[in-house]
């Protein structure tokens, strides 16, 4: 869980993890391999999934095709996903298999972008502000989905500025501010620490 305000550096952190932004320095290790010099597709194929903040659905492609783009061979240490299994998780998507991504609502797109990433059978996924711009009902649904994914054994790194949402799903939290980690601790500790919340997350 990465917490922090707009522009604090959460999205950039996530983009450098998946290789879309080249870090100036530092090391990124994933599944025991150094990945900071690899291309995004190589990192993704190691089992790291990325769900961008802007969703970036392929609007010309329908739901099934969007899932097809994300498909990768199954992995030993990760849950295996098929479109049918994903439609159990996201029943809405199952009802609109042939609908182009461009003609879906924001919430449906957010579901699809997560489902698409899961098609790569990742062992860990990066979720960049999944609650952004969504209605409260959908946010709750999103939280349930993320808890479901955790039960499947998936490691989830979440970036959020919505503390309520974060409290629903996260175990541990890092607070990012001006590109640096300012706080780390368990979600329960953070919830109890008014001073820290006031300093970094007050709105």
């Amino acid at each position: 869980m990465l917490l922090g305000r707009n522009g604090a550096g959460k999205s950039t952190t996530m983009k450098s993890l998946i290789g879309l932004v080249r870090p100036l320095s530092g090391e990124i290790a994933f599944a025991g391999r150094r990945v900071e010099r690899l291309q995004p597709y190589q990192i993704a194929r190691l089992g790291l999934g990325y769900v961008p903040e802007e969703r970036r659905i392929f609007t010309d492609l329908n739901v099934m095709e969007n899932l097809e783009v994300g498909r990768q061979p199954p992995r030993e240490n990760a849950p295996r996903w098929t479109p049918e299994r994903l439609f159990e998780l996201f029943p809405n998507l199952g009802r609109m298999r042939d609908r182009p991504g461009g003609r879906m609502s924001g919430g449906e797109q957010q579901m699809l972008t997560i489902a698409r990433t899961l098609m790569g059978n990742p062992s860990a996924i990066l979720l960049d502000e999944p609650s952004e711009g969504l209605a409260p009902v959908i946010v709750e649904q999103m939280a349930r989905t993320i808890l479901e994914l955790k039960r499947e054994g998936l490691c989830v790194l979440l970036s959020e500025q919505n503390l309520h949402f974060a409290q629903l799903v996260a175990d541990r939290a890092y607070i990012v501010e001006k590109g640096q980690i300012r706080y780390s601790g368990s979600m329960a500790e953070l919830a109890a620490d008014d001073a820290v919340r006031e300093q970094y997350l007050s709105v």
Binding site: L20, Y41, R45, F58, D60, E65, E68, V69, G70
Partner: protein, 634 residues
């Protein structure tokens, strides 16, 4: 026209549309995924045609020689395309898009000379297609069987492409990458091989389009440029990246052309109007109309995000005293030059100065104005023809003609510019190309007035300017003042407003700047300056031909600006010097000068992605002990 004639013309149009569609579809596919505008696409078509000619003979003629040759030629072109992608384009995917364009253009130059070396300069007419050599009778007229075959192959290729793109995993990935290649990468799609595959497929289509024309048109060396401009038009009319749009546009244009030929000379309101001569421009007229009505083409959509064109430009710095001194010293050297050199050197210097002004005027709208023009030669040519016609046919004294010629160009720029500033990016570039092609065809076909393809001869300067020395000083003052004025304007509030409109149209609009009107004014100013260069050119040569406003001349200008570097004021001047000098030296010494030029451009692009001025700037920085030099000084 009778009903049967209309039917035949319609079928003719369908037959011509097929090859056009294949080339355009390839171009569109490649652009969609790699975002590279492949200027060498016409060369691939030409290569396909030449290869099928040779393979027919190599395979011993007959059905095997023909059909085997056509397929083998397309496959060879596909392999060639894949090699080009792996060896060249992979290195420049992150370069500014204009530099990519320059690289593919250079590649086209090399292919042309290789074709000249292998197949020679003569037109090569291929055999008739075995089995389809005859004709069938349709509505009382004979129609070639092979053309019927071509009519069928267009929709077949369209269908095959559609199946490939919608029914296979590869096609789905291609469409995903067309929309957002970065995201596709983050989902584990290896773009490298996807790009290579798309480039090979696009090349295959171009090669096949060329090879299938074997029985219909001779293999010729000028095909590369004529095909690429046709294909550009089709892609732009149809909408960038839209295969269906390309098919529709190819049909539309081929049909209109076919009917123009069919109509021939028609008497309208008592005057004879030649529709068949209209074929040279009709596609560009169609494009201009479509772009004004539907700015993103028939089936195209507005591009989602404008791609940044590389590094952020550093702020403009007023020249330091040292630089000013250097500039004055250079000027003094130019003034004293005729005392030392004479004859040919002076002629070359006059050319260089004229093209420096031309290049700076193009830079003016492309760099600070942010409007990429592929047809800037139109204004050079309008200036040249305006001055020439006034002097020859209008009886205007040379001095006055020299002053009025640029005005003709400015009026042309005013008229064309009104349309152009309504578009941006590749679409704007294509519209400028269309207008220059229209201007070219008018000059080319209006024999009685412009002298047609022969051009105008006997445009001589006034007696007191007749000597090479005198004309040198005229050119020096004209070009010097022109270049200086354009530079000076860039430092003025107008120049700042122009850059403001390019940097952030949103912000410019929000602080009261009317970006379109401003760009229009900038476009006209650049036209005026290019016209001055053209007028000076006309009187320096004594004769002009439609070459002065042709597409290759526009491309020359682009090469000069891009060679010099688009982020520096002096860049376009250096580019003009190097390019004009290279062209002169190389063309005189070497038969295959185009290939050498192409190779040099390729090396420069690969070595200095920031242009010559940027490289010189860095070198100067290193030599002067690492002190930071302003990138955009002088």
């Amino acid at each position: 026209m009778t009903a049967s004639a209309i039917l035949i013309q319609f079928l003719n149009g369908l037959a011509s549309a097929s090859s056009l569609f294949m080339v355009a579809a390839g171009l569109s596919l490649i652009f969609g995924v790699t975002r590279i505008v492949n200027f060498a696409h016409g060369s691939l078509y030409m290569l396909g045609l030449y290869l099928s000619y040779s393979l027919f003979e190599l395979l011993g003629g007959g059905p095997l020689g023909f059909w085997g040759g056509v397929i083998a030629a397309a496959l060879i072109v596909a392999v060639f395309g894949a090699l080009v992608e792996v060896l060249l384009l992979r290195r420049i995917y992150h370069a500014p898009e204009l530099l990519q364009l320059l690289a593919t253009f250079a590649l086209g130059l090399i292919v042309k000379d290789v074709a000249l070396w292998v197949w020679g300069p003569e037109d090569l007419l291929g055999p008739r297609a075995p089995g389809l050599a005859g004709a069938v009778e349709i509505a009382g007229r004979r129609f070639p069987e092979y053309d019927l075959f071509l009519i069928a192959i267009g929709p077949l290729v369209l269908g095959a492409l559609w199946l490939l793109l919608t029914r296979t995993r590869w096609g789905t990935l291609v469409r995903a990458a067309t929309e957002d290649r970065e995201m596709a990468g983050a989902l584990g799609v290896n773009q490298r091989w996807l790009f290579t595959g798309v480039f090979a497929l696009g090349s295959l289509l171009a090669g096949l389009g060329g090879a299938l024309q074997l029985p219909r048109e001779p293999a010729q060396l000028f095909l590369d440029l004529s095909v690429i401009s046709d294909a550009f038009v089709v892609v732009v009319v149809g909408g960038l990246g839209s295969i269906g749009g390309a098919f529709l546009a190819a049909l539309l244009i081929a049909e209109i052309k076919s009917f123009c030929i069919g109509l021939g000379d028609v008497t309208l309101f008592g005057a004879v109007f030649s529709f068949s001569k209209l074929t040279l421009v009709v596609e560009f007229i169609v494009m201009a109309v479509v772009l004004v009505l539907r700015p993103w083409g028939l089936l195209g959509r507005a591009p989602a995000v404008a791609r940044s064109s590389g590094a952020v430009e550093p702020p403009l710095v007023l020249p330091s005293p040292k630089l000013r001194l250097a500039g004055l010293a250079m000027l003094a050297a130019l003034v004293l030059l005729p005392a030392v050199f004479s004859g040919y050197t002076l002629i070359l210097m006059i050319d260089i100065m004229i093209f420096a002004l031309f290049s700076v005027s193009l830079f003016f709208i492309m760099g600070p104005g942010g409007m990429h023009s592929f047809g800037h030669a139109a204004y050079f040519g309008l200036g040249a023809y305006g001055a020439g016609l006034l002097a020859l046919k209008g009886g205007v004294p040379m001095e006055l003609a020299l002053a009025l010629g640029p005005l003709c160009a400015a009026i042309g720029a005013l008229a064309f510019g009104w349309f152009c500033v309504r578009l941006s990016g590749v679409y704007l570039a294509m519209l400028t190309l269309a207008f220059s092609q229209i201007a070219w065809s008018i000059v080319f076909q209006w024999d009685a007035f412009t002298g047609g393809s022969n051009g105008l001869v006997g445009i001589w300067p006034a007696a007191w300017l007749a000597s090479k020395e005198a004309y040198y000083y005229l050119a020096l003052s004209g070009c010097g003042l022109g270049v200086f004025a354009l530079w000076r304007i860039l430092y003025s509030p107008f120049g700042y407003a122009l850059r403001a409109g390019r940097d952030s149209p949103l912000r410019a609009d929000a602080i009261g700047i009317d970006v379109r009107t401003l760009q229009w004014a900038g476009f006209t100013l650049a036209g005026l300056a290019a016209g001055l260069a053209g007028a000076l050119y006309a009187f320096s040569k004594g004769s002009i031909s439609p070459e002065t406003l042709s597409v290759p001349r526009s491309v020359d200008g682009l090469v000069m600006v891009l060679l010099g570097g688009i982020q520096s004021l002096t860049g376009p001047v250096w580019g003009a010097i190097v390019f004009t000098w290279l062209q002169d030296v190389v063309a005189r010494e070497i038969d295959y000068w185009r290939a050498v030029l192409g190779a040099i451009i390729l090396l420069l692009v690969l070595a200095f992605p920031g242009g010559l001025a940027g490289a010189l700037g860095r070198l100067a920085t290193r030599l002067s002990g690492g002190k930071a030099a302003p990138g955009a000084a002088t």
